[in-house]
């Protein structure tokens, strides 16, 4: 299995997919930091004055533990990239018909999907690390310029990073599951983005009690891994959420394996 994972990693890194996604991740990072600081400057201090204190004597840059954690975790929205990473890891093989060669190397199809699950989970986690580092550097620099403390931000890493890394890995696994079921690349991307950007939001607004059962709710719960906030907004505990997310991913991956097992590759 380790050989299959190493092979998958080589296949991934010799396409544009991970690099384009990493580039988008860093751009999103920058935008989110910008939005965060602009928003914070407006709301927190009623107009900053050159890095000093806001109108009520509070600094107009993030300084409380929660504010710093929110800043550090601002890249959380990049989970959609981890999802796409998983989707593309599978569907690229079908789009470019490389699946024939891959199945000659690993003829057992569940093993083929398994290799992609593990590889994508690792790369998804890597994407989270990249965004965390990006936020630390970009956010930390901006914070320092405004008179804040970089080391205060750094101190929040143990609280924020594990949950974010876990969630990104889980989304990548879910992506492989979706890609395994919908091997048509365009269809898989449209369905994934359609669900997470549009459908899930509509469902939650209509049936709020559903939220904790849906992937985003489960992922939000899982992101509380080390923040220790328990079940906020009626979500599951972090481990329950993580298991639910993993369950979604593995369910679709298993379904995809079963479908692939029946399918003739010609």
């Amino acid at each position: 299995m380790i050989a299959i994972i190493r092979s998958e990693w080589l296949k991934m890194r010799t396409t544009a997919v991970p690099w384009v996604l990493a580039g988008i991740a860093l751009i999103i990072n920058g935008l989110l930091i910008l939005v965060y600081f602009v928003g914070h400057g407006d709301g927190g201090g009623g107009g900053g004055n050159g890095g000093g204190n806001g109108s009520f004597g509070y600094p107009n840059y993030p300084h409380t533990t929660q504010q710093l954690r929110n800043l550090l975790g601002s890249g959380f929205a990049g989970y959609i990239l981890a999802l796409l990473l998983g989707v593309l890891c599978v569907t690229t093989e079908f789009r470019h018909k490389t699946v024939t060669t891959s199945l000659l190397v690993a003829p057992r199809r569940p093993q083929f999907i398994g290799g992609k699950l593990i590889t994508s989970a690792i790369l998804g986690a890597g994407l989270a690390v990249l965004m965390l580092v990006g936020t630390l550097l970009g956010g930390g620099l901006t914070l320092s310029v405004q008179g804040g403390s970089f080391s205060d931000l750094l101190r929040q890493v143990p609280a924020v990073a594990p949950g974010m890394i876990l969630v990104f890995a889980l989304f990548a696994i879910l992506g492989v599951g979706v890609g395994a079921v919908l091997t048509n690349q365009v269809a898989a991307i449209i369905v994934s983005l359609g669900w997470f950007i549009i459908l899930e939001g509509i469902l939650v607004s209509l049936f709020h009690s559903l939220e904790k059962w849906l992937p985003t709710g489960a992922a939000a719960a899982a992101s509380n891994l080390t923040r220790g906030m328990g079940s906020r907004f009626g979500l599951f505990n972090w481990w329950e959420g993580a298991l639910l997310m993993l369950g979604y991913g593995l369910f679709f991956a298993a379904l995809g394996s079963v479908i692939l097992n029946q399918r003739d590759i010609s």
Partner: protein
């Protein structure tokens, strides 16, 4: 000699279409077996079933008794070049091979070796999207050879190759057989395989027409003769031929072939009927003609012809010459 590949009563149905129909044949180590039949005769489907890519409806296709998915290191035992396989266009040739080598536990040093072997050493770092059809075919061959397998399965491998490439491929295939490897190579042209194969497995409509050695097939071809006639009076000639039990085929508006006829018989016949002739050619049958008559003349409804009979017993081609000059 044990069989390296054994296909036993294999069938594959796509809905109501029988792509492969109760097909059985064997491939022996150290020999090159040509898997021949017209396009759409089930060759590719059979090969894909062998490689575990397509599920069979019935029967088995095994390597030394084991299915492809049951092999421990499949890439080290079986190398395959398949049609409709592709490469990621932005991946470099050597990276494609490395991904296979790593996944199959083959030393990375084999990547450069096989690239040199197929003559792609100079373009190892080039992206496959920029490769010509022939280069892709060579890269597929390199992929098949990575694990130095003792069994090679090649589906129409000369597609896209230039004449030099085809010559190179022939030499290469013969060399593989001389190493004791089993080679199963499909083609819709027997003429392309004449210099390469030892054995032939001929299929049509998914069924076995015959399995024999090339030598036997050639000896049969040598005995098949025909007379090609070009005449402005073809209609009258055909009417005359109808009256006697000979088999003939019309090739063009002014040309036909009489199977098994000789000039010694036809000359006096033409004189007697005062036929105007433009051309009279005595043809010896070629392997290709035998192949065409086997695959086109094969009537799937006749159960006698479904089993692989040796050539000569129940010849399924057009009826041989029955009436002579006397």
């Amino acid at each position: 000699m044990p069989s390296a590949i054994e296909v036993h009563q294999l069938s594959k149905h796509f809905g109501s279409v029988r792509a492969v129909d109760d097909l059985s044949f064997e491939v022996t180590a150290g020999r090159v077996t040509g898997f021949l039949g017209p396009n759409g005769s089930g060759k590719t489907t059979t090969l894909r079933i062998l490689l575990g890519l397509v599920a069979s409806s019935a029967g088995t296709a095994t390597f030394d008794g084991r299915r492809y998915v049951e092999l421990d290191d499949p890439v080290r035992h079986v190398g395959a070049v398949l049609e409709a396989t592709s490469f990621h266009p932005s991946r470099r040739a050597e990276d494609h091979l490395k991904s296979v080598a790593i996944g199959a536990g083959i030393p990375i040093s084999r990547v450069d070796e096989t690239l040199d072997l197929v003559g792609l050493g100079d373009v190892a770092r080039r992206r496959v999207g920029k490769f010509s059809m022939g280069m892709r075919q060579r890269l597929q061959l390199a992929t098949a050879l990575l694990g130095d397998p003792e069994i090679l399965i090649l589906d129409e491998p000369s597609n896209g190759l230039d004449p030099q490439g085809i010559q190179w491929l022939r030499t290469f295939i013969r060399h593989q057989a001389s190493l004791g490897h089993a080679v199963l190579v499909s083609s819709h042209l027997l003429s392309e395989m004449e210099e390469t194969v030892d054995d032939v497995v001929i299929v049509s409509h998914g069924r076995l027409v015959l399995q024999t050695t090339l030598a036997e097939l050639a000896s049969q071809a040598g005995t098949r003769t025909g007379l090609r006639i070009r005449s402005p009076e073809l209609a009258r000639l055909m009417a005359l031929l109808h009256a006697i039990p000979v088999a003939y085929r019309q090739l063009a508006h002014d040309m036909l072939v009489i199977d098994g006829a000789t000039p010694e018989w036809f000359g006096p016949f033409a004189a007697q009927h005062q036929l105007v002739l433009y051309e009279l050619i005595h043809e010896r049958g070629s392997l290709e003609e035998v192949f065409l008559s086997l695959t086109h003349g094969f009537d799937a409804a006749d159960p006698r012809q479904a089993v692989g009979q040796p050539v000569g017993a129940g010849w399924p081609g057009p009826a041989p010459m029955q009436a002579g000059p006397s």
